[in-house]
């Protein structure tokens, strides 16, 4: 069974045409992989469907804009996957 990271990395590779080997857990979606906000909507759509969740992008963006969080917390892929796992667990609870 694929890990959360494998699924997310496959989605990013296919959606944004980025070589799969360039996508690592420590990769920052924006700073390293150069994914823009529009492409991230495609990624979010695919992630939402794959995991049956709804990434709270607006909340995350607001927290970053308000200085309450850094982009690393949500867009470094290992952290993004941890957030996804939390959302999955919350949905099952």
């Amino acid at each position: 069974m694929s890990s959360t990271f494998d699924t997310v990395a496959d989605i990013i590779a296919e959606t944004c045409d980025i070589p799969r080997e360039d996508i690592k857990p420590e990769s920052h979606a924006i700073n390293d992989l150069e994914i823009d906000s529009l492409d991230f909507l495609d990624i979010a759509f695919a992630i939402d469907k794959a995991f049956g969740i709804k990434l709270p992008l607006e909340q995350w963006t607001q927290e970053v804009n308000d200085g309450k969080a850094t982009t690393d917390q949500y867009f470094v892929l290992s952290n993004l996957c941890a957030r996804i796992d939390e959302l999955i667990a919350a949905k099952r609870a």
Binding site: L38, L41, D42, A44, F45, D48, K49, K54, L55, P56, L57, E58, Q59, T61
Partner: protein
């Protein structure tokens, strides 16, 4: 671009609208001289407006949709002045700050185009803008029950 709501099913969520292609328009003068055809970009805009109205209804006019992406658009045949389009919008996904919808247009019972449409959705910039858009929505027959409760 759109004239009236034919059907609205918020539980699906899906909307069906009717849009009449005008018999004359400055748009047709150049597209094409002597052979007027509805430009494909306006077919996409018609589908986008239809899906946009569905998004407005789903959010009870709390959010304003902006077309952000068009994928897999197919124009199966030209649409001509005087034809009546039946335009459908089906919401495939409601994400955080965005939606994905499938738009379709039928003429004479046959599908003439389709596309997948992504909209960004954002809060209205001010209440006057929302009031204007609610007015337009009411004119095309959107039920008053889906409008915002705010005055």
């Amino acid at each position: 671009m759109i004239d009236r709501v034919v059907d609205l099913a918020l539980d699906v969520p899906k909307i069906v609208m009717e849009a009449a292609v005008p018999t004359s328009s400055p748009v047709f003068e150049g597209h094409w001289p002597g052979y007027p055809v509805m430009p494909a970009v306006l077919l996409i805009e018609t589908m986008a407006q239809t899906s946009g109205l569905l998004i407005l209804a789903r959010t009870r006019f709390a959010r304003l949709p902006f077309l952000a992406a068009v994928k897999n658009a197919k124009i199966r045949r030209s649409v001509f002045p005087g034809e009546t389009m039946t335009v459908e919008g089906l919401l495939l996904h409601e994400g955080s700050g965005f939606t994905v919808a499938r738009g379709q247009i039928h003429v004479g019972g046959k599908q003439v185009c389709e596309a997948e449409l992504t909209h960004r959705v954002m809060p209205f910039p001010d209440p006057k803008v929302r009031a204007e858009i609610e007015s337009v929505a009411a004119q095309v027959g959107l039920p008053l029950g889906v409008m915002s409760d705010a005055g």
